[in-house]
Each structure stands twice: as structure tokens, then as C-alpha cells.
């Protein structure tokens, strides 16, 4: 310990203190500050670049996701539209079919009705014609028959025989 005090040199202490403090101040101004500042700004720049790259990547992903979504939506819409069209087509065909059927049924019914009336009319006419014809024939036959006495007699006889049987 004594040796330490003996070795102590005030002059060296003085110069060391002066020079070292001056060195700290000088280097602070001319070296450490600019060096640490530029290192900091460089590190920040790298960090920013990395951050923005990350951001761009994220944005890209978002964009892709958006695109996909849009595509999906479009596809869905198309499908819906197609479906609707198909349904409409089916409905239209259906409608047309039922309409046609109804019309046809109506026509058939009308036809049938008119056929019926025609038939009836025809039958009625036929009946009247058959009646008049039969009257004519009967007239002619009666005229023919009654022109001959024998024949008249015979008729009366057959009729009488028939009537007795009954």
C-alpha cells in the first residue's frame, strides 16, 4: 500500500485527467455521436425496410384473398343466375304445357259438345226422315195392298189369327 502512495505521480494524474476528459469530449463530438447516429439510422433503415417488406407481403396476401373472394362471389352469382334461368325455363315450359293442355281440353270439350249436338240433330233428322220415309213406304205399301181384294182379306185374316193367339 505504501508503495502505491510512493508511486503516485501528481503530474501524470493531472495530464491523464486533462487529456482523457478532452479525449472524451472531442470524441463525443467528432466520433461517437456521428458514428452511433449513422449506425442507428442504418439499423432503423434496415428495420423499416424489413417492416415495409412485411407489410407489402401482407398487403399482397390481402389482395390475393380479396381476389379470391371476388372470384368466388362471381362464380356464386353466375351459378345463381344460371340456376334462375334454368328454373325460369322449366317454369315457362311447364306453363306452356299446362296452357296448351287446357286449351286442348277446352277444344276437345267443345268439339265433343258440338259432335254431340250434331249427332243429336242428325239422329233427330234421321228419325224424322225415317218416319216420313216409313210413312211414304207404308202409304205405298198400303196403297198397293189395298188395291187387291184378296190380299185385303188375307191380311185381315192373318191379323185376326195373330190376334186370337194373343
Amino acid at each position: 500500500m505504501e508503495k502505491l502512495f510512493e508511486d503516485f505521480s501528481l503530474g501524470l494524474f493531472f495530464w491523464q485527467a486533462v487529456l482523457f476528459i478532452a479525449l472524451i469530449l472531442l470524441l463525443k463530438k467528432f466520433a461517437w455521436k456521428p458514428i452511433l447516429d449513422s449506425v442507428n439510422s442504418r439499423e432503423e433503415g434496415i428495420k423499416n425496410a424489413l417492416d415495409s417488406a412485411e407489410k407489402a407481403k401482407l398487403e399482397m396476401q390481402n389482395l390475393q384473398a380479396d381476389n379470391e373472394k371476388l372470384l368466388k362471389e362471381a362464380r356464386l352469382e353466375r351459378e345463381a343466375m344460371l340456376k334462375e334461368a334454368r328454373e325460369m325455363k322449366a317454369k315457362m315450359i311447364e306453363d306452356a304445357k299446362t296452357d296448351a293442355k287446357e286449351e286442348a281440353n277446352k277444344l276437345i270439350a267443345a268439339a265433343q259438345a258440338s259432335i254431340e249436338t250434331e249427332k243429336k240433330a242428325a239422329i233427330a233428322e234421321l228419325k224424322s226422315q225415317v218416319a216420313s220415309l216409313s210413312i211414304e213406304i207404308a202409304e205405298k205399301v198400303v196403297r198397293e195392298e189395298l188395291s187387291n181384294k184378296d190380299k185385303q182379306m188375307k191380311l185381315v185374316e192373318s191379323m185376326l189369327s195373330e190376334a186370337t193367339l194373343n
Partner: protein, 360 residues
């Protein structure tokens, strides 16, 4: 890769040259073994001390005259007025320097005021009792501090400029230095001080780290300048750490020293002086650690190098050489490690001073 090899080669060469230069010193005297041992011891002690001239090596010429290779440095004294003169006037402590009618003598690495004959008076314990003038000389160590000052300023201001020129990227030396700067920031300052406050202390931590490291590395070169094995230097560094810690201590820090929360009152009274003492012991340990590590490293390396000249046979000297070589490489690690430890502990103390506790 090529550059790496060059750096390695240069380091190796420096180490080898250091052995050679140390070696030249002792080789002149081929006396008996015990003489040589004491000479080695004296040389090591001399090497560890500061000196008033820059002396690379000395030898004794055939004529018996001592020759020195180096140059003198200015001596600045305050003794009733500023006195500046060249240390060559001392002639390596052999003569008395006369300035403005006053006489000064360099005795065992310290300047004393003497009479014209250079008489030194002693007290009972053989300590010189002569008056000592205030000494602000540019000694060998001050010269190295100035050199490191210039080197660091040149290196780091250039590095800062290269950032501007290259749009935020370092160039040349900065490529090597930037990871170290970032290491100090990310591994030393941030975890120990905390994200919120560390920026304020970066200048001091970076400066002290590089200063101690570079100065330690210079201590390993053969020019024989050891700044960090002077207690004055480490005291100065530790004192700055202490002052910064004390000044930036917040309410919490002082509360933990004087009125430790969460312990019973009698314990608080016992703990307060211990904690207060602790605040002084921490920078004191910081000072002693750096000083002692570097001094011990130098003493061990130089002793083992000295053993080469004591053995004077192939086996012993060869082994000593190998051991010294390995130790020199270890000292390279220690040079960086001590700078790191000093910085980490400083950061730790700052962190304690600014820490904001959640209530226990």
C-alpha cells in the same frame, strides 16, 4: 485473409523484437550470477517506472561508458514560477540540473530540489526529505497518453467521416472497429445500464474501453511504455467512473445506500455505513484491478525473459523463451480483457445508479 496473415506476422515480429530489445539490455554485463539477478531485478523495476526521457535501450561501451539510445523529454516544474527545461540536463540522473538559480536532481525517478552538489538528505527510513517541486513534466507515460490521444482521435474521427462519405457504411478501419463499437453498445452498455439511459454513457464507455485497450497494447510493445501500471492513471479513470456514478445516482440509488428498503430498522442502521463504504470500494477495486493486472503481467513476463540470461544454457533459456512467448500471448488477451472488465464494471455501476426499482 491476406490482411489477417499480415497482422499476425506483424504482431509476432513485434513480440520477437521486444525479446530482442530486452535482451540487448542485459547482454552487456556478463558478471557473476547473483549480480546478473539483481541487475535483472533493477531493470524490471526501472522498466515499470515512469521516466523523464524516452529511452529505448542503454548499454555499456567497451570504454566502460554508459550509452543511451533515445531522446529527452521536457520537464515542467512549478516551483515559485513555471520552469521548463529539457530532461537531458539530468544526464540520466547523473548530474544536477540548474534552472534560474535553482538546482534539481532526478533521484529514483522523482525530481527533488537540491543544492548545487545534489545532496539528498534522508530520514530514518531512508526516504528522501528534500523538497519536491510540483511536477507537470511530459514524461514517457504522458507522451504515450498524448500519442494514444492523437491515434484515437485520428482513428475514430476518420471512421465517423467514412460513414458520411459512404452513405452510412463504414470503410477501411471502420469495418474492423464498428463491430467492437457495437459490442460495447449491445453487450456492455445496454444490458447493464438499461435501454432507457444507456445512450448518455456511451461516450465515456467507448472512450475508456478503447483507451485502456490501446494503452495496454502499447505496454506490450518493446518501446517500454506502460501507462496503465501507474496508479495515477488508473486512479484518474476510476475517479471519473466514481464521479459519473455519484452524479447520476437517482433517489432510488441513494435510498438503497442510506435506508435499504425491505430490511428491519436495526439492519438499516448497520447496512448504511457498509453500503456507503461500498461506493468507495467499488471504484477503488476498479483502480487496483487494472493497475495490478498490468503490473503483474509485466513483472512476470520480464522476470521470465530475465531468466533466459540467468540460465545461459540451451535447455533453460529455451524453456524460458517458450514460456515468455506463451505469456506474451496471454498478455495480449489480458490487455483486451482488462479493458472489457473496466468498461463492464463501470457500466454496471452506472446501471445501479440509474436503476428504477419496482417496489419490493
Amino acid at each position: 485473409m491476406r490482411r489477417k496473415i499480415t497482422v499476425k506476422t506483424i504482431t509476432l515480429l513485434l513480440l520477437l523484437v521486444s525479446f530482442v530489445t530486452y535482451g540487448q539490455e542485459e547482454h552487456g554485463h556478463a558478471d557473476s550470477g547473483s549480480d546478473r539477478a539483481s541487475e535483472v531485478k533493477a531493470y524490471i523495476q526501472h522498466h515499470l517506472k515512469d521516466s523523464y526521457d524516452f529511452n529505448l535501450f542503454s548499454w555499456t561501451a567497451d570504454s566502460g561508458e554508459e550509452k543511451h539510445f533515445g531522446f529527452p523529454l521536457p520537464v515542467i516544474l512549478w516551483d515559485g514560477g513555471l520552469k521548463v527545461f529539457s530532461s537531458s540536463k539530468f544526464h540520466h540522473g547523473e548530474t544536477v540540473a540548474e534552472v534560474d538559480g535553482n538546482y534539481y536532481k532526478n533521484y529514483h525517478g522523482k525530481i527533488y530540489k537540491t543544492d548545487a552538489e545534489g545532496t539528498i538528505t534522508y530520514d530514518n527510513e531512508h526516504h528522501a526529505t528534500n523538497e519536491k517541486p510540483l511536477d507537470f513534466s511530459i514524461t514517457k507515460n504522458v507522451l504515450l497518453i498524448m500519442m494514444v490521444f492523437a491515434i484515437m482521435f485520428f482513428m475514430f474521427s476518420r471512421m465517423a467521416k467514412s460513414y458520411k462519405k459512404n452513405g452510412g457504411m463504414p470503410k477501411g478501419m471502420g469495418r474492423f472497429l464498428e463491430p467492437i463499437v457495437l459490442y460495447v453498445r449491445d453487450e456492455i452498455a445496454r444490458p447493464n445500464i438499461g435501454e432507457k439511459h444507456y445512450k448518455r454513457y456511451m461516450s465515456y464507455l467507448l472512450t475508456v474501453f478503447f483507451f485502456v485497450w490501446i494503452v495496454n497494447l502499447f505496454g506490450l510493445t518493446p518501446i517500454g511504455m506502460n501507462v496503465t501500471n501507474n496508479i495515477a492513471v488508473t486512479l484518474c479513470l476510476a475517479l471519473i467512473t466514481y464521479i459519473i456514478t455519484t452524479v447520476s445516482g437517482n433517489k432510488n440509488y441513494w435510498k438503497h445506500i442510506f435506508w435499504m428498503p425491505g430490511v428491519p430498522v436495526p439492519m438499516k442502521i448497520i447496512l448504511a455505513p457498509i453500503e456507503l463504504l461500498g461506493t468507495f470500494i467499488k471504484p477503488f477495486a476498479l483502480m487496483i484491478r487494472l493497475y495490478a493486472n498490468i503490473t503483474a503481467g509485466h513483472v512476470v513476463i520480464m522476470s521470465i525473459i530475465g531468466m533466459i540470461f540467468l540460465f545461459q544454457n540451451w535447455l533453460g533459456s529455451g524453456l524460458s523463451f517458450l514460456l515468455a512467448f506463451v505469456l506474451a500471448i496471454l498478455e495480449l488477451l489480458v490487455a483486451a480483457l482488462q479493458a472489457y472488465i473496466f468498461t463492464v464494471l463501470s457500466a454496471l455501476y452506472f446501471g445501479m445508479a440509474v436503476e428504477e426499482h419496482d417496489h419490493h
